[in-house]
């Protein structure tokens, strides 16, 4: 019997551009800036990189068919193995899952992970790109929009657990305030629950301040095998668990109140990382929060609390940066912005910086050792999870 030699995978560098509504840089130029920063911070040059994996959501944002092929060299893949993974909103964190297997397979010693999105190219509004994510026969004829389906999910979640909008709004308040400390943030702000409740109704129960903005931006990470990482740094951060899961396309046949797919993805990652009691063992988490209710939904899916319990923890301050279980200390998508493929990578960058004690003003207290990042995508259907440890 031949033996498999699974390699331990480390994160050794991270890079990030500003997240803004419109950037002058092309997608290529943004990829380069993030990748270059990640390489520099790892103390590596391009020639040290064996492979590149790139994450980006639909081509209909950037407005380039086969978008990945346009970004190869800008992501550092000149004459290198390059691949693009694609799981809708789940893409960002999933790109890191992809980076993980590139190295864990033993095929490569170093891998650049680049996430990029230039949503502003889609005119007059990036929301247009979302009108073609639906089944053409069942859903598109109604003029279905992204906010429709998420408001349906939010409402179902509220209904099943008897959750009030005030409880959910707290997430937006927290994340936008956290983002004031993030140098790349697009929408850091001091707002109140009333501000959220009084903001324009988009699709009840979703209001303007429940939603993250559309953004341009890029983020990158450098991953390395154990041997390489130990030569580079005394304090690598390890990827101890990777997980992903997709649920059925037939979203109107599922009960939307709970994200099973996130739980399955989390269980996969926790099993790999040998985590048995997530709330106890995880010190900091960056669940996906394109809408405020999604942070709560995902905390439950990540098994950080019981079903329906996340609003209570939020109200008690547990999820604040100085709480027992800091959630989205970066400011999340609600505060930092949501260039989709890049947003998930940004979350991984945040966990990396938090575990290294390098998050500056955003640093959560208590010397965190284990962190989780998670993203979500498709038709309320995809979960991607990564577990990092110092």
């Amino acid at each position: 019997m031949r033996m498999f030699g699974k390699k331990r995978v480390a994160v050794v560098g991270a890079g990030l551009t500003l997240f803004r509504r419109n950037m002058k840089e092309t997608g290529r130029e943004m990829c380069y800036e993030a990748a270059k920063m990640a390489l520099d911070s790892a103390g590596l040059t391009l020639s040290d990189i064996d492979a590149v994996t790139y994450g980006s959501a639909p081509d209909a944002f950037d407005g380039i068919h086969m978008k990945g092929e346009n970004m190869t060299d800008a992501s550092g893949a000149w004459r290198k193995p390059f691949s693009r993974v694609y799981t809708g909103g789940g893409t960002g964190v999933f790109a890191m899952d992809s980076g993980w297997w590139h190295i864990a397979s033993g095929l490569f010693d170093t891998c650049l992970v680049v996430g990029e999105e230039k949503m502003s190219s889609c005119y007059p509004h990036p929301a247009y790109a979302f009108t073609t994510i639906f089944d053409p026969i069942m859903d598109r004829p109604h003029g279905t929009t992204l906010i429709w389906i998420f408001s349906l999910e939010m409402h179902r979640y509220m209904h099943r657990h008897g959750i009030k909008k005030e409880q959910i709004a707290l997430v937006s308040v927290k994340n936008k305030r956290n983002a004031l400390d993030h140098p790349c943030a697009q929408l850091g702000a001091k707002i109140t629950v009333e501000d959220v409740l009084n903001s324009e109704i988009m699709c009840w129960p979703v209001q303007r301040l429940d939603i993250s903005p559309t953004s341009d931006g890029a983020a990158a990470l450098v991953l390395a095998s154990e041997d390489v990482a130990k030569k580079l740094t005394d304090n690598p951060v390890w990827i101890d668990g990777a997980g992903w899961c997709i649920d059925s396309t037939y979203w109107t046949n599922r009960d939307l109140y709970y994200p099973d797919y996130v739980e399955y993805a989390a269980r996969m990652a926790y099993k790999m990382a040998k985590i048995k009691n997530p709330p106890k063992e995880i010190d900091v988490a960056e669940p996906y929060d394109p809408f405020d209710y999604k942070e709560l939904h995902h905390m439950e899916g990540l098994l950080l609390c019981k079903k329906g319990e996340a609003p209570k923890l939020t109200a008690e301050g547990v999820t604040q940066r100085d709480g027992d279980l800091p959630i989205n200390p970066s400011g999340g998508l609600l505060g930092v912005g949501n260039p989709i493929g890049a947003a998930g990578v940004m979350k991984c960058c945040e966990i990396f910086w938090q575990l290294r004690g390098e998050a500056g003003k955003r640093q959560v207290p208590g010397d965190p050792r284990t962190g989780v990042a998670q993203a979500w995508g498709d038709l309320m259907q995809y979960g991607s999870v990564i577990v990092m440890r110092r």
């Binding site: 509504r21 800036e33 929009t145 140098p183 988009m202």
Partner: protein, 168 residues
């Protein structure tokens, strides 16, 4: 590192600068047209809608009655076994009220959007549709609703052959 980095790259431009042409840009609109085959399951479904009926497919193994129909049972991973008509009434599983259109612009009259679990199909088998003939503030979870069909002559074999659902 985050704490050590002084400047993050990126050049912000304002939407107005783009609109006013102060930032040079190139415009394009792809010509990307498709004609999909609806396939075995959805061709039948559409042809039945034209007749004013909703058809489901069934799996003998798990016993599920599935709407929209499909030729495979995704739970059992096998071919589905037959067809059966379901009712054009149902229950509101979840709903929302939209004040904006696809391009994010505001619309005058809000649209009530709902996932409606169809009577006669397995529990939780819903479809997406809209509601009318009801004040949006009075829509409730669990409300019983019924399809309002277009007149037979106007039907084309589309999900919009059902104009909307109304309270029963």
């Amino acid at each position: 590192m985050s704490a050590k980095i002084k400047e993050y790259p990126g050049t912000e431009v304002k939407s107005e600068e783009i609109k006013q042409g102060k930032v040079p840009t190139i415009r394009d609109r792809p010509k990307a047209k498709y004609l999909w085959s609806a396939g075995v399951a959805m061709s039948r479904f559409l042809n039945e809608l034209k007749k004013g009926k909703i058809i489901a497919s069934t799996c003998n193994k798990c016993g599920r009655i599935m709407v929209p129909p499909r030729v495979f049972c995704e739970q059992c991973f096998k071919s589905t076994d037959g067809w059966t008509y379901v009712k054009d009434t149902g229950t509101i599983n979840t709903y929302s009220v939209s004040f904006i259109a696809g391009d994010a612009s505001r619309i005058k009259e809000p649209i009530v959007v709902a996932v409606i679990d169809i009577d006669g199909a397995s529990p939780g088998m819903g479809i997406l549709h809209t509601m009318q003939e009801v004040d949006w503030k009075k829509v409730k979870f669990g409300m019983k609703v019924k399809a309002v069909w277009k007149p037979e002559k106007e039907r084309t074999g589309a999900i919009t052959d059902i104009k909307y659902f109304k309270p029963l």
